[in-house]
Amino acid sequence: MKRYSAFAIAREALRGHIGWERAWRSPEPKAQYDVVIVGAGGHGLATAYYLGKNFGITNVAVLEKGWLGGGNTGRNTTIIRSNYLQDPSAAIYEKARSLYETLSQELNYNIMFSPRGVLMLAQTEHEVRGYRRTAHANSLQGVKTEFVSPDRVKELCPIISLEGPRYPVLGALWQARAGTARHDAVAWGYARACSDMGMDIIQKCEVTGIRTEGGKVSGVTTTRGDIGCGKLGIVVAGHSGVVAEMAGFRLPIESVALQALVSEPIKPCMDVVVMANTVHGYMSQSDKGEMVIGGGADGFNNYTQRGSFHHVEETVRALVETFPIISRLKMLRQWGGIVDMTGDRSPIISKTPVENCFINCGWGTGGFKAIPGSGWAMAELMAKGASPLADGFEMHRFREGRFVDESVAAGVAH
């Protein structure tokens, strides 16, 4: 793989950029792989990457029914944070965050991780108590957060209206090392690195069936023929239920539409990410200058990548109230993705009733921030049969009443 660098660009510039090689190969599928990953989104590609990097497993195919990174990886609001309440969540999101910090260097692909800091506003006494609780928990989890005063909030984000007027800002949970990254680049960077390790990323290849022998997975049937595998990882987010059904087991998952939108680009006016959960809105400003805004999720099963407009309305209403200056900005584009929600809104990284078949799903509205940690844990689980980072996220936790419930603090999972 030719390394990317300023020098490489200079070299190519002088010869009309003819020397750039493909970021990833587009091979024909082989008949058999050690591991097949279904889904070439961030989580699937990261799983493949860490299988190779951490466990030397490189005879791997990543199958994608559309184009890589084309699902929720390329549709989210790119927030990266790890200020979660429960131990299992804090562990995997903090692992992800710390991997993000050096991912550009590791992949030799600039994913533009921007540790600009995330503010979660506390606008009721209940939220104040909730975030104080989270701050205490984080201090024991090795996650650096602090509960800051309204003055500090104003300092960090001058365009916030502290008065509310409806829900005065009483403080905020501040994670300075949280931030954002360029979502597409994360998928592309992992894809390039996987391809470079000799893995096959096969796009426009839809899995239509899962083959098993004696309760063990033996391969998949696809629109591009049968592909055998020793182990199978299902990492398909919104379509998990559909693929799980092919393998013959059910998931505690429901798929709903989640929306996001951006404004037209303006000059920098917001250097941090702000989440206002009392009024249901969060916003950051992209490097391009767009205000990036996350909307709510539909309350009904939905496989269209369109949501209901009233969620957009509620979010915009909340943000105009929180950031009065945006009222005269314009919405440039709105879109939707299909997210997979579990009973406790926390993910599933788990073995399945089918031997050698593993599943990683249920990230709901918060998957992007977890990609490196999720891939790391899934790879370890698939390679070794267990991973401390996956502990607590078993698919059967619900029958025991063992939830990883983040909604218990004032926080919501975005």
Partner: protein
């Protein structure tokens, strides 16, 4: 933005007048139920890409619950019906069959 006709009052209700209630025709299991049965009842929701039966409440309206048969891929509504039934009535099933021959939901066809 869905519109569903509330079978209780006949109003074509805007989605913002309604409250979604999740999967329809769940059978509550009590203290005697097995772990499997209880997990199934509380967490294993149908999540089909296609024909689905679900519950809604006409919250900003007559306040009553009702059932809807809907396609989760096209959002086509095959019909709405009373919440006081344990299975989809025949006319609803027929309406679905007319639009989606060979459809299946749980053990219902």
């Amino acid at each position: 933005m869905l519109i569903l006709r509330c079978p209780n009052c006949g109003i074509d209700a805007d989605e913002t007048e309604l409250a979604p209630g999740g999967e329809a025709h769940l059978r509550r299991v009590g203290p005697e139920a097995s772990d499997d049965a209880f997990e199934g009842y509380l967490f294993h929701r149908e999540n089909p890409r296609g024909v689905h039966f679900e519950r809604w409440r006409h919250a900003a309206g007559c306040g009553k619950w009702f059932h809807a048969a809907r396609c989760t891929q096209t959002l086509e509504v095959f019909g709405t019906y009373s919440a006081q039934v344990t299975d989809p009535p025949q006319d609803i099933r027929d309406a679905i069959t007319a639009r989606r021959p060979g459809w299946r939901w749980r053990d219902i066809e």
